[in-house]
Subunit: 249 residues, 2 copies
DNA sequence: ACAAAAAATGCATTTGTATGCAAAAATTAA
DNA sequence: TTAATTTTTGCATACAAATGCATTTTTTGT
């Protein structure tokens, strides 16, 4: 019996019975359970079924709700951004870039904070639009759809006219030599403009971004005033960063 | 019985009976209460139910989920906007205002439509950012937070520079004498600019908006090319609108 | 505050899974 | 066709997951 036949058999049985059990299939098809498992894993990779402990079940199409943004390690990110809440004060003018860490930050901004926030991230704007005391300005332009942010000259032009007290920049990668780097050119120049427009520059990211690099430079470490990570500021892996003079929260 | 099956069983029972009891489930499924508890905790972590002392209950839709926009009468609105899909063609430049009817419309835009869409509505932009073939431009400005749209001079300036083939305008109120009217002044002037910028003006709304008025005039009926409602175009309550020369879908 | 019920925790047992390896089968190249 | 190569398969082993039980902790109703 060819593998393709077997896969077909498995899929048929799966549709008929809503589930398949590894041991049953091994028995019926007279093959080792290992082979069945390999088959099921293959079919799982092709998204034709869902492998579970002991067998497999039909793929349940999860409602791809656009508005339900999935933040990975949200709890971890909460811990990071909570440290940065002390940087917020009434009447500040703030610029926020995109990124899930900044989104978590936006969620945690206290309801009584009165401030003006500029952003070019759709999810962050959605979040902040729920905030009673924030003057929110969305920076328009062409949408970079996967990241849900606007990019391009329109964005730069607006950002370069802002005079902000503080900006919160998400980080793709950071290291001692190159500083902050980004995978996309367009995002990198927007971030440059943000930094230029702000008195104080804060970047929040988890420690796995440390000592990594991307093609496009945003700024070097000296231009960052504060970085916020999940690590203790005294952590040895931040040693070099501390030396560069950036304040670590 | 596979764990996945059990979870499905529990979820089904939960929906049917609004609650599940740990001891009952243990009895029915012939498993220890420990296993049931572990299951319920797992499902709780996935936010599929809420674990409570003694069992579990349905997740209470928390209103604080910003991203979960509630559209009233969504099915009814789907019927309306489906009629308007025939107005879409490849390579069009489109402007869309905000409003839940337009949001439903955005959801239904075919995946293969290649077009450029301008909007100043956050939810609509979120929706369209999922669309593979649409060039999306968000019109920035100060956010009107309850409506999740940008307003003000920044918006007007951008809109007035667009040359669009068609625009889709949500309607707060419409009547024969004043035409389209809005509750807010700012929204009304943005919509005026939209109309000015577009070759063709389409407005979609349910019949309960007919023959009502709001303080701020957007345009009179003559400036609308097409209106789309839930009613049959021949419906007597559209009689006067038909006479005004507007095309009714 | 107290007793009863439920839940969490650690542990042992069972069961299912991943992985490297060797033999068998299928495929490819000459 | 034959030999070389790749793929598939089954097995042994180490590993991880699931389950039930005993014990401790927490919660609840009175």
């Amino acid at each position: 019996m060819l593998k393709a036949e077997r896969h077909k058999f498995i899929m048929t049985k799966l549709v008929e019975e809503q589930k398949v059990v590894t041991t049953d299939l091994a028995l019926v098809l007279d093959l080792s359970e290992d082979t069945i498992r390999r088959d099921l894993n293959e079919l799982d990779n092709k998204k034709l079924l869902e492998k579970v402990y002991g067998g497999a079940v039909l793929v349940t199409e999860k409602a791809t709700d656009i508005f339900n943004i999935n933040i990975s390690d949200e709890d971890e990110k909460k811990k990071i951004v909570t440290k940065a809440l002390s940087l917020l004060h009434d009447d500040q003018v703030i610029i926020m870039s995109g990124g899930s860490t900044n989104l978590v930050f936006a969620k945690l901004i206290p309801a009584d904070l009165k401030a003006t926030i500029y952003t070019y991230s759709l999810p962050i704007a959605m979040q902040l639009s729920q905030h009673p005391n924030i003057d929110l300005i969305f920076i328009g332009g062409k949408m970079q759809k996967n990241a849900m942010v606007t990019i391009g000259m329109d964005v730069i032009q607006v950002v370069s006219k802002i005079k902000a007290d503080i900006c919160f920049i998400g980080a793709s990668s950071i290291n001692i030599k190159q500083g902050l780097t980004e995978i996309g050119y367009e995002i990198s120049i927007v971030k440059k403009a943000m930094i230029e427009a702000s008195d104080r520059v804060v970047s929040m990211f988890s420690s796995d971004k440390l000592d990594t690099k991307m093609p496009h430079v945003v700024c070097d470490l000296k231009q960052l005033d504060t970085i916020v990570t999940n690590l203790n500021p005294e952590d040895p892996s931040l040693e070099e960063y501390r030396k560069s003079g950036v304040f670590i929260l």
